[in-house]
Homo-oligomer: 197 residues x 4
């Protein structure tokens, strides 16, 4: 299998994940502005998940571009990531409908923590492939530190929700912000790639 096919399949799955979430947006029974306002939390959780999945999609591309060889380990690490990502529509729907309930906030946090850990795991295969190369190794280590940080923060957000859901929401806002800013650098690094192959 080439990285092109791996990427095309992953793109397909991610495009579907990001789009079917909208099916959870149920129109209110009464067509009034106040009724629409009550759906706002569902809309906001959809917006947040759209952003999170979009960030993952961009990062996934940068990751796949650094692949030297499609190994079984890489293939299955990628399928593992797609599995946890595929649960995002489910946890998003649950959060939107129960945004005041610690359980829903926790479950959302846990799934995103698992996605973060899966990204970290997927990159270990790249680290292995690039182990004799100083420059990409340093690059991978930097990204993995960030993966680990966001995984830990999401893991923290899960129990935190049982004390204050606002603490968890703060973490949900913080992580995209953290990823969003360095995104620009990552895209620049793809334009003038460190790892050019």
């Amino acid at each position: 299998m080439t990285t092109a096919r791996l990427e095309a399949f992953s793109d397909g799955v991610i495009a579907i994940i990001v789009t079917i979430m909208v099916l959870e947006l149920r129109a209110p029974a009464q067509p009034t502005w106040p009724a629409l306002l009550k759906v706002a939390p569902i809309f906001i959780s959809y917006g947040l998940s759209f952003l999170v999945v979009a960030i993952m999609w961009v990062n996934h591309h940068h990751l796949i571009h650094a692949v030297r060889k499609v190994t079984a380990r890489l293939l299955w690490s990628n399928l593992n990531l797609l599995f946890w990502m595929s649960l995002i529509p489910f946890v998003t729907d649950f959060l939107g409908k129960n945004y005041r309930q610690p359980v829903a906030v926790s479950l959302y946090s846990l799934d995103l923590a698992l996605c973060g850990a899966s990204f970290w795991l997927l990159r270990t295969e790249l680290v292995r492939q690039d182990q004799h190369d100083a420059e990409p190794s340093e690059y991978h280590a930097r990204i993995q530190r960030k993966n680990l940080l966001s995984t830990l923060l999401y893991l923290l957000a899960a129990p935190a929700a049982h004390f204050s859901i606002y603490a968890s929401f703060l973490i949900f806002a913080l992580i995209p912000a953290m990823y969003f800013l360095p995104e620009k650098k990552l895209v620049t690094s793809a334009d003038q790639p460190i790892i050019d192959r």
Copy 2:
């Protein structure tokens, strides 16, 4: 990231948007022609949205073909557009079920206005990339004027619905007509491209 991947991902999302809308078409409980006739507004709003999304898809292609370089700004402007487009199945369903209610007509207008504005924003990045080139700049300016006009018309349709929903429906019919005719020109201009790269 290449424009090919950006286009493939956007195509995937747009193909899903346009197709999942059909899931909102619920068969009437009673299998009679009069019962089917009652579903007609849902069918008509589906048809309108299919047309609107199809026009956006065609325009999106022309836009992406004029891209010189995939920058972070371009990437995120595109994801912003896809986000507002992804809400079209939701606002379409709401409109179909409540086509006599100003709120539903307004919400539909607002989402399409946001799509129009997102197209305008996305093209500003192209304007930036082509700023030292007279011919494409003139071309971008022409399209952006059209984006702005349709955005303003949709923005107008939102409050108008609270006075007369028929005024809003007229705008909904007018804008596709306006885009549809120049579409031919745009396709011709792609066949004999102004901006040939």
Copy 3:
């Protein structure tokens, strides 16, 4: 736009159409074999539509391969075809739930008639592109006669359902059979193409 992109987008839409139909297959409330048997008509109508869409997909490929140039007319004829195809999950669901009701059988027939007519219309653009070439013209004329025949048969199946739904079902079985057999010839003709470009 190239035919490759047109084909990729159409493939995406067709893949979604064929797959989301399965979402209409609702598991019976009671997990018993007799309860499952009652769902059989829904399953059979799904199977029939899968076959019909698969035949359309194969024919669509052969058609696109014969395209010389992506014109606005071609683009919009293709989007018109995709629109009527996108209604197949809806009419299939309606048929499966009301397979004894003439209205459901009629509606199914009408949508497939419109798909057939859209195929015919789409090919008129190819006829136009190939008008100075004797061999492809003869080939297009042959396919269009078949398109017309199946369109007329489906049109006939719509009123026929109000007299005998079995007459309509016979037509539903006949048309795939008619298309299925010559499919082999078409694939062969693509392997040893009449129109080689």
Copy 4:
């Protein structure tokens, strides 16, 4: 049709199958951990089907890579496989909701048996194409024996469920394990292909 298009369409359908299954995961009405625990069987059946479809996707790629020529027979054998795969979301949902009921376990087994048989059938076309070549023939025969074994095991799991659903569950766990291990070999054989063309 090229194998690239056949693969892209199959990838599209498989990506949708694997992702829409998540729509069956319905959030519990009450946002509590015990309520979530009750959804666990639905989640587990989703996870199992994700794994099964992922294995099929990987195997499908290896199969398509060995294709010499896209014949009508190959095309329709592939569409036949996609049809039975498209039912996986349905049987998975039914299993998740009724995991203690023999009927649900049987139906799941039967669909996977039909998928296995379809893989076997699809490969017979490759056997035909490679019949004058000793090395690939031996390779195909080896895979087909495995297809046959898993088909028979799934066929066995169907009646077995009526005696003990745990016997069927054991088979469900066994087959992915059996496929998962040799997967590595298959990927290796693609990296250093036996059949290099």
